[in-house]
């Protein structure tokens, strides 16, 4: 597991017992001043992939909306990252991994669009209501990875009931009920813009909620 320490003009990284120093020009050296070998850099990338595995998988889930595809994309991402480890920079390692993950996800999306058979399959899934169940399983998958734990769920429940009722209803219908905003607007007999505003304000208040702030802040790890 890599440990980071920032010093003036340099970033220090502890990988496999070796203390690495990276300067502003991305030169990576160990304590003896030698530039690191590809093996050390690869080890650093591998450790980082393990450290941020859940974040990267949830990010891929957000892009691909499918946990199986997210799992596959993560595997490909790790391989691609290790292959490109020499181009990594310690200071921007997390963002670098996210970019690789995004590229892999977009590649998956492009392949899906080319695959007409897959489209037909998706259409069948929509017709049979399979996608709705898949969305539920995606959330369970996120739970199994510890992205959201029981404590967080309870905090969200407490925060939700503090919202105005109309904001609760919009959030619940859209995220849990899988209704579109147009459907929600029609059901609540409100203009679409009003419904969107309620959703946005509700989510903003959830993020600003003191009990959820720690949870949200955790997701912005450097």
């Amino acid at each position: 597991m890599p440990n980071f320490r920032a010093s003036y003009g340099h970033t220090q990284l502890l990988v496999g017992g070796n203390l690495l120093t990276q300067d502003d020009e991305n030169r990576c050296e160990d304590e003896s001043g030698l530039q690191q070998t590809p093996d050390v850099m690869r080890s650093m990338v591998e450790d980082s992939c393990v450290q941020w595995e859940s974040d990267l998988k949830v990010f891929l889930l957000g892009v691909l909306k499918n946990r199986d595809l997210a799992e596959d994309a993560f595997q490909k991402m790790v391989i691609r990252a290790i292959e490109s480890a020499q181009t990594a920079r310690v200071a921007t390692l997390r963002g670098w991994l996210f970019r690789i993950a995004l590229n892999e996800a977009r590649q998956f999306i492009r392949e899906q669009k080319r695959d007409t058979n897959h489209r037909a399959k998706i259409a069948e899934q929509v017709a049979s209501g399979h996608l709705e169940g898949q969305a539920r399983s995606n959330t369970r998958w996120a739970l199994s990875y510890g992205v959201v734990n029981e404590e967080t769920i309870q905090a969200i429940q407490r925060s939700l009931v503090r919202l105005p009722v109309e904001q609760q209803e919009v959030i619940r219908r859209r995220i849990y009920g899988d209704q579109t905003f147009a459907e929600i607007a029609e059901h609540m007999q409100q203009p679409l813009g009003t419904v969107l505003t309620w959703m946005r304000r509700g989510l903003l208040r959830l993020k600003e909620d003191s009990q959820l702030r720690a949870f949200v802040d955790d997701s912005y790890r450097p």
């Binding site: 957000g62 967080t152 309870q154 429940q157 995220i175 993020k207 997701s219």
Partner: protein, 202 residues
């Protein structure tokens, strides 16, 4: 980094606060699949250039999963909104009770007013006493019908029962005596005694 650079960075940060909110909202719409194909393509291109958008997508996905699980694992089978309604229910249910009490109080006041008018008419006219008593009994019976209290129901039912009995139609002796005295005074056999005639008694 010198102080000027730090100040400039802070200024940029504060000035771009709404943009951060917009980015988070766009990320949420992206995760929820609300963006059009063109908007999605643009957003993904922007993500490739700006890692903070990737972090925003991560946060939006986490929040979405958390909300879905929070709604799913609500302690009762009722939705969140139903729970809120139940929490607010005691306040809502107090109003009808209070309103019913108000109606009862208004009815009681009306009955008392009827009684007072009846009493005055009895003193002035001296007649139709039985009719007024019947009207009072009817009003009390109507009031009883609306009243919730069993105790009051019982008491008022007894009162109505006594008013409706045949014995209530028989005038008491003291009333007959009073009527005889009034009649005697009117016939001038016995001159009426006014208040001034009793001035020296005490």
């Amino acid at each position: 980094m010198n102080n000027n650079e730090m100040n400039m960075r802070q200024d940029r940060t504060s000035a771009s606060q709404p943009e951060i909110d917009d980015a988070q909202w766009s990320a949420m719409q992206y995760v929820l699949g609300e963006l059009s194909d063109e908007q999605t393509e643009l957003f993904e291109s922007a993500m490739a250039d700006d890692v903070t958008l990737c972090e925003a997508v991560l946060a939006a996905t986490q929040l979405t999963c958390g909300i879905a699980l929070a709604c799913k694992t609500q302690p009762s089978t009722q939705p969140v909104i139903a729970s809120v309604t139940m929490i607010a229910a005691p306040v809502a249910f107090r109003r009808p009770t209070f309103a019913r009490f108000g109606v009862f109080a208004a009815s009681a006041a009306m009955v008392l007013a009827v009684l007072a008018v009846g009493t005055l008419q009895t003193r002035q006219g001296g007649g139709d006493l039985l009719a007024i008593e019947d009207a009072t009994a009817d009003a009390l019976a109507l009031l009883l019908h609306d009243a919730e209290s069993n105790d009051m129901n019982t008491e008022l039912e007894e009162l109505v029962a006594s008013d409706d009995s045949v014995s209530s139609l028989v005038a008491p002796e003291w009333l007959l005596t009073a009527v005889d005295l009034d009649a005697a005074a009117a016939s001038e056999d016995h001159p009426a005694i006014g208040p001034n005639d009793e001035a020296g008694v005490y």
